[in-house]
Subunit: 150 residues, 2 copies
Amino acid sequence: MHEHLNIEPIGIVRTDSDEIDTHWRSVESEIHVSEQYTAGLQGIEDWSHLVIIFSMHDAQFKLDKHLVNRPRDRDDMPEVGVFAQRSRFTPNTIGMTVVRLLSVAGNVLRVKGLDAIDGTPVLSIKPYAPVYDAANEPLIPVWFLRLMQG
Amino acid sequence: MHEHLNIEPIGIVRTDSDEIDTHWRSVESEIHVSEQYTAGLQGIEDWSHLVIIFSMHDAQFKLDKHLVNRPRDRDDMPEVGVFAQRSRFTPNTIGMTVVRLLSVAGNVLRVKGLDAIDGTPVLSIKPYAPVYDAANEPLIPVWFLRLMQG
């Protein structure tokens, strides 16, 4: 039905943090943009936040296991579909996170709050613009609140 | 340097609106999810907003033309890099927008605010969770404010 898309990473995540799972909001990491794209960072320092789209390349989506499941395999969680949760195991294993831009030096962005491990391929970098990216009074399920509280 | 990723769309955008460019925030469209993934929508109605990641398949990024340019070719705009603006012409031409979820019926999501044309391949659907997706007091450049005012 659908054609396959051929996508080439534009950069890579570098971090020495091993606490991505638990404390990613305070994690600082670097994004090393491929040098052919360095000029594309011009003016990025005028934005405070970025949208990072990346490939969770170590995750492998399995239809029978990941299409519907209980978040983090917790018994106290409801069964929800993969598109109704923030699982790493999604079709295409594409991740997306809003990060704070700390600094720019050459082809290296330093950011805060990226929940991606060292070596993660980056597919797209966009400036965070509320007109596209902000939700007005978003509603979330109670189970997700509980999940975030640990 | 980087391996290529092989990505298969999980669904497709259906809309009869031809005002995506100018009034996308009020546009209502449908996302038809591939039927093998229908069960993955379970529980999605408990979220008010979704993050839609899609392929701007009709746009073609050219390094010499799109790496640095003036947004919308306007003389009153500064020269900014592709990663510092929300151009359609980006490497990998991956788009991302936060939409409001209006309704779900079978494998069809009805959404509001998607700036994607009819036939756009959808790569990922995520529930909008402020903990991942909201920016705290985002700063944007003055030129972008002017651009949005038309």
